[in-house]
Symmetry: D2
Subunit: 346 residues, 4 copies
């Protein structure tokens, strides 16, 4: 059994990691770290874990608590994991960082969009962007995996094959994404109150959301040239789920068949990617609580537009599930170990 430490265990991504790790046959939780809840029983914060997880939260001391741990998950807000990662790597341990700190290869882009200085830039070259279906080979060798953001996961997975195969030749791609409220985390603010979010739908951070450069980095890599994303996120009145609707000009006159063949070819051995049939579109409920990414599309001949739609559970494939999938790759476990439960419907 691998010993696992989760740093920042009391946010929603941390809670989801605990759910998945506690059900993983090769893992055992060593500690759950939380500065604000140190010495509180974890199941007092997340009552779903009563009698399942009996840890108390601790506030870890990386100088001494590191040795017996095999793998670390860090689920802290951006800017807080850099020093931790450094210490973990110095001890030759493996770490999956769910924050944004090691996702962007270009440090200037990071510092511009996140408006903080990067304190561990020398590690960026070691970091592998943990999009499992695309970078599995590199992830298997990695010590430091930068777990992708929720929105980027939902956007890059459907687009990567299309750009890579040059089926699309856009400089600008329009992404209209809708997220459940858990995507905003457990931060206690007016905008996340039930009475404010329920029966409400709104756009936010148009053109300025921090996931934009992450999306662009990967789409550009795929396309072999600079691609920009017009990214508009929305908050929808639901707890979980991201639905991304992506608009591509069909400037190379490809056929629906080519799109479908390409997606199916790229993902034919990827069990967590499901390509829907013609006329079917993804819905967030169909992936609820699971690590699936559903992808559908429509060739709108009239307007010469390809509309691609994807759905993920933002806390699973968009965070903790993908982190476990990365760890499975890093340690040679079955790719779906700990991730086998089907989506919950209804």
């Amino acid at each position: 059994m691998l010993k696992v430490g989760i740093i920042g265990a009391t946010g929603y991504a941390g809670g989801e990691l605990v759910r998945l790790v506690s059900n993983h046959s090769e893992l055992e939780i060593s500690f759950l770290d939380s500065r604000s809840y140190a010495s509180v029983e974890y199941s007092k914060i997340y009552p779903n874990f009563k009698n399942i997880v009996d840890n108390k939260c601790i506030s870890i001391n990386l100088e001494k608590d590191l040795d017996e741990i095999d793998v670390f998950f860090i689920a802290l807000p951006h800017g807080l994991s850099q020093g931790l990662v450094k210490k973990i790597l110095e001890k030759n341990k493996k770490v999956i960082d769910l924050s944004a700190d090691f996702r962007l290869r270009d440090v200037d882009t990071y510092e511009e969009w996140y408006t903080v200085k990067h304190e561990a830039k020398e590690l960026l070259v070691k970091a592998v962007y943990g999009l499992c279906e695309i970078y599995a080979d590199r992830i298997r060798e990695a010590d430091l995996v930068a777990n992708p953001g929720c929105y980027p996961t939902s956007v890059i997975l459907p687009l990567y094959p299309l750009l890579k195969e040059r089926l699309i030749d856009s400089d600008i791609i329009i992404v209209d994404a809708k997220s459940g409220v858990s995507g905003a985390g457990r931060s206690v603010k007016d905008a996340n109150l039930f009475s404010q979010c329920n029966e409400n739908l709104r756009a936010y951070g148009i053109g300025t959301h921090r996931h934009t450069p992450e999306i662009e980095q990967e789409l550009s890599t795929a396309a072999g040239k600079r691609v920009m994303a017009q990214f508009t996120p929305h908050l929808a009145p639901m707890t979980r789920g991201i639905l991304s609707t992506i608009y591509l000009t069909n400037n190379k006159k490809v056929k629906a068949r080519e799109i479908r063949d390409t997606l199916e070819y790229y993902y034919k051995n990827q069990q967590f990617i499901r390509i829907l049939e013609e006329g079917e579109y993804p819905q967030t409920k169909a992936v609820y609580g699971s690590n699936y990414c559903d992808i559908g599309f429509k060739m709108d001949e009239r307007t010469n537009t390809i509309v691609v739609v994807s759905a993920i559970d933002n806390l699973v494939k968009g965070a903790a599930g993908q982190a476990v999938q990365n760890m499975n790759l890093m340690f040679g476990f079955d790719i779906d170990e700990g991730l086998k439960q089907p989506p919950v419907w209804p």
Copy 2:
């Protein structure tokens, strides 16, 4: 007091008409027609109206029941109002039709998208498209008003001024619209069940929704040339509200100031249109239960895109509220009579 007859009073648009008409100082409900609920007390179907509306539903006979009515609202599914409208106009009465039957000026387009024959094409020339803020003058003179669809209202109101003033010169406009479930009406089908819609978000009818030609008709009118809309509707887990996010290429390099000035100029005397300030975006809760249309936008310089966002209550500004506003114009009442209550928040 004007005597009002509502035909098709038991759908959601019908119910909303009753709510607004019953609170209108110049109106009195004469009959509530419903084939399926004939002789049932209306407040048994809509318990909110207990002790407020004491009508029983009737199944009207237009040969005899017409004479004492001053104005008719028809809230039937498309295809059912054509014969009724003919009879009403023959008696020199005024009618606001909430169905799609008289919205499209081109009968072939109607028959193609709605896949039914139009049985009253000769009346199409008499019909005025009832978008109050744009066609007020013609509505004042009209006997037959075709009340706009919910999605089209949310799309045309923000775009009309921009196209009319040639600030945008697109042939194709991308519209990503999200609607509450009441937009699907009271039709009893699996897809509208609570357990299916709750915690779920999905796209549907991509590129094939029947509101597409209605949107295109009006945008083309504004632009003075053929404009197409790539229209993708979504179902969101809420009862009321439409949020439309519209993507325009800034191919004429206009400034934010010009967009703002144009919208403000067009709507400066239109109390139901609210232009939000820079950095503010519409949210459906801010218009809940009211006749407002909120409009915001963002110039995304990086991607050279103008993102326009609008919010309406689909049952009020998108249906019954706009119908009452049309009637206010037709009979010379204050434009906001019956529509004064502020939105309900939270």
Copy 3:
């Protein structure tokens, strides 16, 4: 036009007061007080009021800002209104206090349940408990009205007539009440987050909720003897609404007819009370956004139990609506002025 000042205008009850007052033909808002949002435009906090309410919040100074105001609403948390009320009454102004501070006639009970000292006990004799349908005569004469709590309103209205007429002779009455999340106010805490409340239902404060003595005070008054309430509140995943299900032992073997006759007799001229027919039970949606209280009941002969169910909108009849109704009584306006809009359905 009466000049109105609202103290504590930025909580949910305050926001609802603004909604109702802004639509009241005899009232004009003079100021909206908020310590935390002083000098912020009110419509920045509540975007539904854009272009409707153009006030900026102020932090009032009661020494100087009092003179030109005709009536005050106070919507502060308990403990904060006592000094304000004193100053207002000294200036011979009328005040409706929505807090709990003047609801309990017995100061010891207040201090025990609210665990604060009462700083204005001498005013308790002047305070009238503002349950409009029961105490209208006294309210008309009052300068200080203590607006009832949301849960108590939903419990006392259906039970008062039954206890007064001695149809029930219980010492202990069981009240199982379910509230929407807006009842918890706008306080920003973990338990009120969307992701925590959505798809969740829970009991809280069993036997210890502060509304218990308020319920007992009024039920005891009605019964002419000490009556206790076993009061169990629940939080339901909705924004608005309270449904109270009340269990009474039919120890006097009354008939359904007597219950019905008594309720109908007491409330026959009370337009905001609706007694449902046999077999019909209240639902919160039927009173949404309105000042109605719906009451239904079932004689369960098998178990010798009378089950009484009531529904209100906690922010209207349970707070701001009843406050406006009280003010209508105090100033001789029509009882439904500002409260005429029908409930919003769906």
Copy 4:
């Protein structure tokens, strides 16, 4: 691997069975029966199962399709399983029936409350009431298990020990239960529409719900005397979950300690029952998607009432999960096989 047949696989309980069975290490789905969807791919009805369950629905013929199946689950509405069960037992196969048909030992009670004739009364003596934590020994030997109803499960589990140990001596017990909408099944009717259920809470079937005699049968068994339940179900605006709040007069002056000790003693080896600590109350989210039943209580000394609260997921512990747990008992598998995933939060 045991071969499983699910009869009535397309209702919500059927769908949940498929979710759990597909993740059970000892089971393999042989067929999914559905009259209305025969020959439709199961994953077209439940898109969450795409690429997970590739069965097409069949309409089984019990004369020929029975032989190779090891165990049957029947998830049909009441009245439809009687003939099927007879045929299955004749072939010496084991069956878990999720309908109400074999739950009530007294056939007259069944026929009175369900208003249909029982066509297989001779089998009632063979049927074991499948409340796993209470009747495990008998279930292990059973060929026919009557899987308990959702509401009864939530009521009997917390009360059985208290009545059995004579801590309570009531003739009448008050049960106020709140259920998510999935409890009403997938039946397509107006009352289950999203727009009707969302932001709504209502009581229904007060004193007449068919789960009443089932509750009473088991409580009477426990108490060793006739016990009646005043049972009031409510519909809450959520998909899953039942919260039952139960009111008991403390007529034997027991202490909180005795209640707690008794519950803990009865359930100390029952991993799916969690007794919450003092001051903690169950919430439906803490059991979401899982087979847990959470139980808490409050001694309200003031009113001499014991308030017991329980929470289950109506589709898991209240239906499919308990059915799998029963099957685990019948075949000697680990009790939690297929039921290990922790509840989903948030």
